[in-house]
Each structure stands twice: as C-alpha cells, then as structure tokens.
C-alpha cells in the first residue's frame, strides 16, 4: 500500500517537474551590429522569447525579425524586405544544448559552451556560443556574444552596399529568466 502511495506521489512529481525546471523570459534583448566605418548598422529587439530547461540543459530562443528596431526607418524596411525577407521567414530561432556542466544550485557565474542550431531566413546553421550564465533560485541571468556571416544563412549582400555592411555580424544577447509559472 505504501508503495502505491509512493508511486502516485512520484508520478505526480514527474508530471509537475516539467514546469519546475523551466525558466523563461519574453523580453530578452538581442542586439545585432554590422557596422562599418561607412555606416552604423545597429538594431535591437527586446522581444525575444527564450527558455532554459535546467534539468536537460537545453536552451531555446525565438524572435520575430520585424521586432528589430533601427535608428533609420529606411534601414529597418530594407532589413525586413531585402535581407531577412520577414514576410516569408518571420522568425529567427535557436535551439541549443549547454555542453559545459553548470551547477544550477550555485549562484556563481560560469562561462559555458552552448552548441546548437541557429535558424533564420529559412536556413539552419550549427553554431557554438560562449555564454555567461549566472544561476539562481528565483532568476537566471545569461548573456552571450557571437558572430555570424550573412552568407551562412543564404543572405546575399549586393556589391553596391558590400563595403557598408560588415562581413561578420555581431550578435549580443542579454536575458534574465524567471521560473516558469503555469498558465492559468
């Protein structure tokens, strides 16, 4: 009889565990920079959704490409129309595994390797990112910086603007996660 109670308790634990190991934020910041001496090309989105599963060490990102804001409205229009083709490919996403073991119970920052798939403009590419992760009980902070090339995502840069756009685009990510609360 005790065993049955234990099993029921365990299975309940199993089902609820799915939510307790998940941390989420809907307003992670992503900055991308492909500036050159000829042109400042910087855009920022504060609307990236991202989750971390600390049990399986999985991290996921998703952001609408139209949420990136530029200083120049025309540049924003060209970003969506000509380069990202946001009408066809509205989202950029990332799914990765935290390779470096992280002690989620400590509150010390750690530089961890995250390997995964970055998908944008309909093209998926493997990337490895060094991220700074600060675990915590009520929140997890994470930041990362990495570089990608437009060519890797099949985004051609016309020769007329080749000198104005950096060959490598720097992407900076800043996220503060909170424990996932079950939706009402």
């Amino acid at each position: 009889m005790n065993k049955i109670t234990l099993i029921i308790a365990l299975s309940i634990l199993c089902f609820t565990a799915g939510a307790q190991n998940v941390f989420i934020t809907k307003d992670a910041k992503i900055i991308f920079n492909s500036s050159t001496p000829l042109e400042d090309i910087v855009a920022e989105s504060n609307q990236a959704t991202t989750v971390i599963d600390i049990e399986k060490n999985v991290v996921k990102f998703s952001v609408l490409t139209t949420s990136f804001k530029f200083r120049r409205a025309l540049m924003e229009e060209h970003f969506n129309e000509n380069y990202m083709e946001s009408a066809k490919f509205p989202k950029a996403s990332f799914t990765g595994k935290i390779v470096t073991p992280v002690d989620w119970k400590s509150d010390k920052s750690i530089i961890a390797d995250i390997t995964g798939t970055l998908t944008m403009h309909g093209v998926s590419s493997e990337v490895t990112v060094k991220a700074k992760i600060t675990p915590g009980k009520s929140k997890i902070a994470a930041s990362a910086e990495f570089k990608v090339t437009p060519e890797a995502f099949n985004i051609p840069i016309p020769s007329a603007v080749r000198d104005k756009i950096a060959k490598e685009v720097t992407i900076k990510i800043d996220a503060v996660y909170a424990p996932f609360q079950q939706l009402p």
Partner: protein
C-alpha cells in the same frame, strides 16, 4: 508480490519516460503559448512616397526627413532641334518630414508655373495581419498649391486667385511581396482657372500599381482618369483653352541603400497634383511624352 512490484517499477519507468518526452515537446509549445499573437504590418507597399507622380500610401516615419529632387525633360516630339526634349527641364524640389509614424508634412517648389506647395499626409489605416487584421492601407492627403507665375493675364493679381486645393484618399493593398495596387480618388479645387469653360472643381480617380522585378527594382504604372464634362468637346482654338489629357506614367524604381531613383516616361510636365491632374497637355499618341526622374534621399533625425 514480486510480479506486482515489477509492474509498479514498469509503471514508474514509463511515467518518468513519458514526463521527459512530454516536457521536451513542451518547451516549444510553452514558448508559443507564452507569446501573445502579434500584429504584422505590411511594409514597403511601394518603394517610395510617390507611385510615379502621385502620392503613394507610403510616408516618412517619425523623425525621418526626405529630400526629393524631381525632374522632367521636354516632350519627345519636339524633335532633334530640342534633342527630343532633353534640352528642356522642369524641376521640383521638396522637403518632406515624418512628425509621427502616421503623419507626414512636406513643402515643395516647382519651376512649373513657379508653384509653391505644402501638404499633409495622414495614414488612417495600415494593412496588417496577426492579432489585428486589416486588408488595406488608407491614407488621406490635403495639399495647397500657390502659383506664383506672373504672365497669365487672366489671373487676377490677388493672392487667393493663385491658390488651388487638393483632397485625396489613397486606398492600397499589398497583395503579395511583388504586387501592390492603389486607388486614388481625388478632388481638386482651383480658385481661378485660365478660361471660362474650364471647371474650377475637378474630380479624378487614379490607379497605381507596382510590380517588383527584383528585390531592389520595381516597375510602376500610374493613370488618373479626370472628369472634365464637356470641357474638351467645346475646346476650340478661339476659346483660348488648352486641350488636356489624362496623365499616364510608366516608371522603374531603383533602390540603392539610402536612395531611391525613379525613372519614368510620362505625358505630364508638372509634379504636383494640381499640375499633373489638372494641366497635363501631352498626348501619348502624338509623342507628347517626357523622360523624367525622381531622386529621394532620406536623412534620419532619430537618436
């Protein structure tokens, strides 16, 4: 007893496995669920704030200033003496600014009848899908033009007689990434017209379309039907009135970073509504067409 505990262990393992696979898929659906549906607005319905001569639903966004230089050569049928029109030129200069994302103001000066103009363009509806669905863009334009040319003796020399007013509604839809279409009902009131048989009030319906040939090149056609009643029928040399035609323009947009070049062939000389809707004198049929271009450069004053 042993069998029972085996079955229990089996259940337990299954339960754990199930919860793992469920939470694996959960991450994606959990992300989907936590993001509210967003509204995606149709942008770049036209490449420029003009289809060719007439306004498009596009406008400068907040704190963006556009400097426009428009130029039309002479009529092709002037022949070799005028190098098929290239010896002549009509120029329009304009500064246009977005006060907000939905409100644009502009001023301009043209060599055509030495016209000064000012306009306000308001975006009332934006085409969107997602959380908010709207099938069309709707914009309204109000413009005032003042002719400062002094040679027309019919025109009284007081200021108000030089004025004309344009009211325009632009209804546009971006059907897909390549094709956009705009309808442009227009009402123009001229305080004074050169001859008695010409109407002070003009009603017109414009149709403009664009088709993208590539990401940075688009093909545009624009036509305005102008209702003139029997004006043209009774137009004879002895009344002194000019025969007017409906403006038809065909152009190509070429976009290069911060510039948009528009190259066109049109039968209109003027580059503002009062002029090209009201006073187009070229006929496509007899070679009364001109080569022209618009150059747009955008400056950002956002921080």
């Amino acid at each position: 007893m042993k069998n029972r505990s085996l079955a229990l262990i089996h259940l337990l393992v299954m339960g754990v496995l199930f919860s793992i696979s469920a939470s694996g898929q959960d991450l994606d659906s959990l992300m989907e669920k936590s993001v509210k549906p967003q509204t995606v607005y149709a942008t770049a319905t036209f490449k420029s704030t003009r289809v060719v001569n007439g306004h498009s639903v596009e406008r400068m966004k907040k704190n963006q200033l556009e400097f426009r230089v428009s130029h039309r050569f002479g009529e092709f049928n002037t022949g070799s003496y005028d190098f098929w029109g290239l010896d002549q030129g009509t120029i329009h200069l304009a500064l246009e600014y977005g006060l907000t994302d939905w409100l644009e103001v502009g001023i301009g000066r043209s060599t055509f009848e030495k016209t000064v103009d000012a306009f306000t363009k308001v975006s009332l509806l934006r085409q969107s899908n997602g959380a908010k669905n709207m099938p069309i863009h709707l914009s309204y334009l109000a413009s005032t033009e003042v002719i400062s040319l002094n040679v027309d003796p019919a025109m009284k020399r007081n200021f108000t007689s030089r004025m004309s007013f344009v009211q325009q509604i632009m209804i546009a839809r971006k059907f897909n990434e390549s094709f956009s279409l705009q309808l442009t009902p227009t009402y123009i009131h001229r305080n004074i017209v050169p001859t008695e048989i010409e109407h002070n009030d003009l009603f017109s319906l414009g149709v403009g379309g664009r088709y993208k040939l590539s990401k940075r090149i688009a093909f545009n056609v624009e036509y305005f039907y102008v209702y003139r009643g029997n004006e043209n029928a009774i137009n004879q040399p002895n009344t002194g009135a000019t025969k007017y035609y409906n403006p038809l323009s065909v152009g190509i947009d070429i976009e290069t970073g911060g510039h948009v070049f528009q190259i066109m062939v049109t039968n209109s000389q003027a580059m503002r509504e009062g002029g090209f809707i009201g006073k187009t004198t070229g006929a496509w049929g007899s070679g009364g067409i001109r080569l022209g271009f618009n150059i747009s450069r955008v400056f950002s004053f956002s921080k």
